[in-house]
Subunit: 458 residues, 2 copies
């Protein structure tokens, strides 16, 4: 592909992206397709000869776009909505072209240092103390796995050399993300050694039950080593009492990891600062700018007060990566399984500068306001009930009927293509989640979706 062909194709793509960002509402949020539909429309083999970009782009528009679930659509209300904000997309364009790989400082100083700077900025926005070291991973699941590995390193420093020993036990609420269990499986702790601590009526970890579980395990000769507190659980966005959990962790010598992947962003707002109270004494914390901080995936920010332990768990420097800056510069590969690192901080730098702290705060406040309004609307309609508090912008509710009726209602709503909401289970019942978080979402979007739900209810 010649540079001039690249230039014209890239300009064409930019216009498509600009139109897409400006007017996404023409597209159905969920594609109308069955498993295998796209596979069957694509050739079984790659071409022998190169094809012109025009044909590839034609297929992109004809085949790919209609098979996409539009996460960047303002009416995407499923899971945790995210935003490929305009400045974030610009940052990604430049990262792709530079294609730098920050294995060690020298292999691209800009990557390492901009990661340090943006993680420092974000740390300040979240109100965490300066001693927290920041590093970017691809996802919160991977971050949490690193936290569990660091916790293992603290509790059982021999594991790195001799292998994991059985008997380490880990604690998280019943409402914690599945990545906690997955991380425990991966590092060799084992699923049976993950204690799912009961939650209270508002889906927050019960600290009395945590203490009881730790005491029981200690009496049984097991070694409690890690507790994960969640700030914004995946089902209902409940907030565990971090300060109390940290206190328990301190008492029993456990590593405390805070999974604030979704809701951590809200700590930018003074009125939400309480959600991270106590986190300043936690060992590690993960928050995902690619969820609620306007940054395209993948960008998960991991902070730890004990980078020394994280480093001890993961450092291994082969000769071919030794440099004369070792000891003087940060080499992020020392703190992660992945050795290669693309230039992820660039898009975060674009986002943080383009919106500024107040700009971001204004958007989060708007989302929370819309969430509160939907919560009130649910409460006002006798046919529906909210099943959990709404601390942020995710509203969990159900139609007062059977699980089947709720499932059918959700399917009818999603089948319109006008929105995409997802579900969860709370107290053993099927629950619809109305999650607000895309940068383009307006009050009108939210109101129309609620009307749609009301219309389609039995």
């Amino acid at each position: 592909m010649q540079t001039e062909d690249f230039r014209s194709a890239a300009h064409e793509i930019v216009d498509w992206i600009a139109d897409y960002l400006e007017n996404p509402r023409d597209l159905p949020v969920l594609p109308d397709m069955q498993p295998g539909d796209l596979v069957s429309r694509l050739p079984g083999s790659a071409p022998e000869q190169g094809e012109p970009m025009g044909r590839i782009l034609e297929d992109f528009h004809k085949l790919i776009v209609p098979a996409v679930t539009h996460w960047n659509h303002p009416r995407f209300m499923a899971y945790f909505p995210s935003s490929a904000s305009p400045p974030g997309v610009l940052g990604e364009m430049l990262s792709a072209a530079l294609n730098t790989n920050a294995i060690v400082w020298k292999s691209s100083p800009a990557n390492t240092e901009l990661e340090m700077v943006t993680m420092g900025w974000l740390r300040q926005w979240l109100g965490l103390p300066e001693e927290f070291f920041g590093i970017i991973y691809d996802t919160a699941s991977v971050g949490t796995m690193h936290a569990i590995a660091a916790a293992r390193e603290m509790a059982d420093p021999e594991a790195r050399n001799k292998g994991a020993t059985r008997g380490l036990t880990l604690y998280a609420s019943q409402q914690a993300h599945s990545s906690v269990e997955k991380g425990a499986i991966a590092v060799g702790v084992g699923r049976e050694n993950v204690r799912k601590i009961p939650a209270d009526a508002e889906f927050r970890m019960r600290v009395d039950a945590l203490v009881e579980a730790i005491e029981t395990d200690r009496k049984a000769g097991l070694k409690p080593f890690c507790v994960v507190a969640t700030v914004g659980t995946t089902s209902s966005t409940s907030v565990d009492p971090v300060a109390e959990i940290v206190q328990v962790a301190e008492k029993y010598g456990l590593w405390c990891h805070v999974d604030a992947a979704y809701a951590g962003a809200a700590a930018i707002l003074p009125e939400c600062r309480w959600i991270l109270q106590g986190a300043e004494r936690a060992h590690s914390l993960v928050v995902n700018p690619h969820k609620w901080l306007l940054t395209p995936a993948d960008l998960s920010a991991f902070f730890t007060r004990r980078p020394d332990i994280l480093r001890r768990a993961f450092t291994l420097v082969p000769e071919y990566l030794r440099t004369s800056q070792d000891g003087k510069a940060t080499n992020f590969m020392d703190y992660s399984i992945a050795m290669g690192r693309r230039f992820r901080s660039l898009k975060l730098w674009f986002v943080m500068r383009s919106y500024g702290k107040e700009g971001v705060a204004e958007i989060l406040r708007r989302h929370i306001g819309m969430g509160q309004r939907i919560a009130a609307a649910v409460d006002a309609d006798q046919r529906f009930e909210r099943v959990s508090p709404t601390p942020f912008s995710v509203v969990c509710f159900r139609y007062k009927g059977s699980d089947e009726e709720n499932r059918a209602l959700l399917d009818r709503v999603n089948a319109t293509g006008k929105t995409f909401l997802s579900h969860t289970e709370l107290n053993g019942r099927f629950v619809i989640r109305f999650a607000i978080g895309n940068v383009g979402t307006t009050q009108q979007d939210v109101d129309e979706i609620w009307s749609l739900i009301q219309q389609l209810a039995p």
Copy 2:
């Protein structure tokens, strides 16, 4: 940021990228800076108010570009060179804007199905049989860790629930990548249980020594469970005898993982097909299109004949991710630690279609040809010696002098800014690596760099 501001900034960025791709030689490959230089030039806090994009782009050009090590420069000859090829960059631009997240099939069918299709295409290019299941991870280190976890699942199915047991032993050559050891540490196997099998004079794993190590461990009551063969080692790009290693793995019931992160791409060439001979019987294999297949990072392709075991090691499906397509569609999150997955296959699809198999083959052949020419040039200059065979396009050589003289020579070459070469250690001696692999590299680039090395030699 308004859409029209996005549109004009994006067009401006496209022109910069096109110029960058067209004429990168004006830029020094390695930046002239010390650790902390960029940090000191950036503000200590993010702005309160948003800033105009013009100012951000100005800083990008003034502060970031001069701090970048230019991996996409045709004279980048360090580590393993890579390419953000024009079609790859176009694919990334679209992925960033769509910002889809393929957690489960439904959460973006296009992501899942295009990943299946492109992994199938790549499998064919590599000559692997149809039974191989493909999945994209971010890096080969992460892929290798997943292979080791799957191997553990095969050998010790109780580990998932009960935790890892000690005594599992893993085998890889002394020349294997550090990610093998890191993966073993992460999953709880322990560093002491990684056997580094001696290599022969050409840096290939000695199969007799492998068998001996396995026998010794078995006699000691340990449980050999995994062997990693490398196709294209990081230091010298040597190729382990995969077919023989697979045979040993079969005999002793070990999982055989093939780390072909760098050189696997060459299997596209009929004359290089031998490098993966036997891999069709391996359990898993990793090859990085973001190394030598013209694709921007991050895109590491992982193939396994036993997706059932990989899935058993990693699947955990919370209620909120159950869908009516479960059982009918592939949900890639079942096969990985990371739950979120950005739309990585799109750029690979652009690259494979834009170049075609023959276009890619032609570029790889050109790189290998240039590598052979440098190898011959080294051989022809009495002051230098090659220290390993050159099966691909990485030439390992040294000035016939002390390690210090070689290190100083390398520093002088890199200080010119005209190229960036890295080093390694072979047979206990400092070795310079001349690695060719960027799409823009010409014979003239390579010849001029070799002349520069000759001029700067003592």
